[in-house]
């Protein structure tokens, strides 16, 4: 499968936007400008962007609490996401959700989830709607290695398998559930083998290789439309701590350092320069643009009003 330079540069651009967004968020927290918390996906960009960018407008995604890249991959408006991080009225959730509940139904993002494994059953339902209404579309459920030990994982994969629903279960294995390494939370190395329990196809990929992730998602999308659900595990690494406050005493600095060498953005940049012969000036231009996009998003967010007190009572129930 040949990818055009246009697609490659779109992927690079979204990865850079994600990195800029994350670094800005880290800075804003450090400056005390954001109330609440966020979970950063620095180091995992290839996974969220590679999958999200391969999807169509009608496809749904359900994100994790560490899901900024997943939302950007699916095409969320950066201004609205930044405003949501800042809790503003103009945020995608009107300031009610924050980082853990980023959602934009207009682009098929059915929401990030604060409950580990909480989105899995919902994804089965979204895919049921697609199948029931005969839509030519898929639902992607993102979840982490930690969620693979929740009961909802088992129940959801089983149900999706029985009903042959068009769900692509994407496990972003960043190797840590908060401070607990997967070696302490499961007795297997590769989560994709669990697919066999549901007579489902399982695939295990280098989640830091955005081209691989993108290509495999394109294939998986067609596969699940025809054959029903599939489990795709993307191996990656969480380069920062669990959330804004984490001294990371549970892992060695050398371990983090070795993974910094496998930073998916660095790897992809090198690939574009050396293999694809894309001029550095072109990449530099995209990098500058991504940085500017985030500055613009911040300006939009900061200039947006706080929600008024009466908004507290809005949207509890639908009419």
């Amino acid at each position: 499968m040949h990818l055009t330079n246009t697609v490659l540069l779109e992927l690079y651009s979204k990865m850079r936007q994600t990195r800029e967004f994350e670094e800005m968020a880290v800075k804003l927290f450090a400056q005390g400008k954001v109330h609440g918390t966020a979970h950063f996906c620095i180091g995992e960009e290839a996974a969220g962007i590679g999958v999200g960018h391969a999807l169509d407008q009608d496809d749904y995604i359900l994100q994790t609490h560490r899901g900024h890249h997943q939302a950007i991959g699916k095409g969320i408006n950066l201004n609205h996401m930044m405003a949501e991080l800042l809790g503003k009225e103009s945020g995608c959730c009107k300031g009610k959700g924050g980082s853990m509940h980023i959602a934009d139904f207009s682009v098929g993002s059915l929401g990030a989830n604060g409950i580990v494994g909480g989105g899995l059953p919902l994804s089965v339902g979204a895919a049921l709607t697609q199948q029931y209404l005969g839509k030519n579309a898929v639902t992607v459920c993102f979840f982490g290695d930690g969620a693979a030990n929740e009961g909802s994982f088992h129940e959801s994969l089983n149900l999706a398998s029985i009903w042959k629903l068009p769900v692509l279960f994407v496990c972003i294995n960043n190797q840590y559930g908060m401070s607990t390494h997967i070696s302490k939370s499961m007795n297997i190395d590769d989560i994709s083998i669990r697919a066999a329990s549901y007579n489902m196809k399982g695939l295990s990929l280098d989640g830091n290789d955005v081209v691989l992730v993108y290509k495999e998602t394109l294939k998986a999308k067609e596969y699940v439309k025809k054959h029903g659900p599939m489990l795709m595990v993307l191996h990656t690494y969480r380069l920062l701590g669990h959330s804004k406050s984490d001294a990371q005493v549970y892992r060695a600095k050398e371990e983090v350092k070795s993974w910094r060498k496998k930073d998916p953005i660095l790897l992809f940049r090198k690939y574009l320069l050396t293999e694809k012969k894309i001029p550095e000036t072109v990449l530099k231009q995209l990098e500058d643009q991504a940085a500017q996009d985030i500055l613009n998003a911040l300006a939009f967010a900061e200039s947006s009003p706080e929600p008024m007190a009466e908004k507290l009572f809005e949207d509890i129930f639908a009419d």
């Binding site: 995608c92 089965v124 909802s152 509890i316 129930f317 639908a318």
Partner: protein, 330 residues
């Protein structure tokens, strides 16, 4: 008017709404050929087929969560839980997902689904299959809670619940399934919608108000009949829905009679009765009260297996009768 059972009324409501709207479907365990644990969906699979009467594995979290996900994306699912006690297995999907969805995403979506939950004691099913846990659901903003007492109400309230654009937990007390009552003929039933949030005064009276819901409505009415022969005129207010709550009817009734007894089968501590008492004493009705507001509820015990012990755990016609008598003799 013709008479049908409470179970038949529920089946009619579901079937009519499924004929009216192809987006309505039923999910649950053993709801197909078997007809559901209490026979409520019997015959529906013949009419609507496996696509719309969807039998599931024993996976309550996935059933409720899949319903919520389907509701978010345009369908209008009904879930039959085999027993309301199994809500515990689906609590995250109901409480953190379905109920929170609209609010936490800033009103982008809605979750039009109904969770039908057979509840209550009286069948010798012991501690894990007999609870009345409606108060838990009332404590979650974003959920509506319906507890119908009669076939007439069950049908009208379920049709409204299915058309409602929010997650509704619909408690069906198991002992009510065979209860017979008047329900309009099918040809008039399209209009048979009872709004959520409107209580019904099942019996008018001037001396004392019983505020209750579900099966306890029937016991309260029977006790009220006996008290009537003693010259005590009891008003029986059937709440029908706990969320939204018809506070006005409760307060008006309390003002009228000045004496209030709150009755529910659920255990007393943390039960919805406390909320009802507060609704009255927080209001202008407080000044009309001529005696303390009383609660008659289930004892704070798990429901036991033994028939006599089980019966003793919850209010009865006799205990309602005696409590009212005691309040009137003060």
């Amino acid at each position: 008017m013709r008479e049908i059972t409470y179970a038949e009324a529920i089946r009619e409501a579901m079937s009519e709404e499924m004929r009216r709207d192809t987006g309505v479907l039923l999910l649950g365990e053993d709801i197909g050929t078997y007809g559901g644990a209490f026979g409520v969906s019997r015959g529906m699979i013949e009419e609507f087929g496996e696509k719309r009467i969807r039998e599931t594995p024993i996976s309550e979290a996935a059933i409720v969560g899949a319903a919520a996900g389907a509701a978010m994306t345009g369908l209008r699912p009904i879930v039959e839980l085999m027993f309301s006690d199994f809500i515990t297995l689906a609590m995250d999907q109901l409480v953190n997902q379905a109920a929170k969805n609209r609010y936490q995403f800033g009103g982008q979506g809605s979750v039009p689904m109904v969770v039908r939950a057979p509840s209550g004691s009286g069948k010798g099913a012991a501690a894990q299959h007999s609870q009345s846990i409606e108060a838990w659901c009332c404590h979650v903003p974003g959920l509506k809670v319906v507890v119908p007492s009669t076939p007439y109400d069950a049908k009208g309230l379920l049709k409204s619940s299915i058309r409602d654009n929010n997650p509704v937990v619909f408690f069906e007390q198991k002992l009510l399934y065979p209860v017979i009552g008047e329900v309009p003929e099918k040809e008039f039933s399209e209009d048979h919608l009872i709004p959520l949030g409107k209580a019904d005064i099942k019996k008018e009276g001037a001396d004392l108000s019983i505020i209750t819901y579900g099966r306890m409505v029937h016991l309260s009415l029977a006790a009220a009949e006996r008290l009537h022969s003693l010259g005590i005129k009891v008003e029986v207010v059937d709440l029908r829905t706990l969320v939204p709550l018809d506070s006005k009817t409760i307060i008006d009734s309390a003002k009228k009679t000045g004496k209030v007894l709150v009755v529910h089968e659920a255990v007393k501590t943390g039960g919805f009765g406390g909320e009802l008492v507060s609704t009255i004493v927080d209001s202008e009705a407080f000044c009309s009260l001529t005696s303390p507001v009383k609660r008659l509820c289930g004892y704070d015990v798990p429901i036991p297996y033994n028939k006599n012990l089980e019966a003793y755990a919850v209010p009865t016609e006799e205990s309602i009768y005696k409590t009212v008598l005691g309040m009137m003799q003060r």
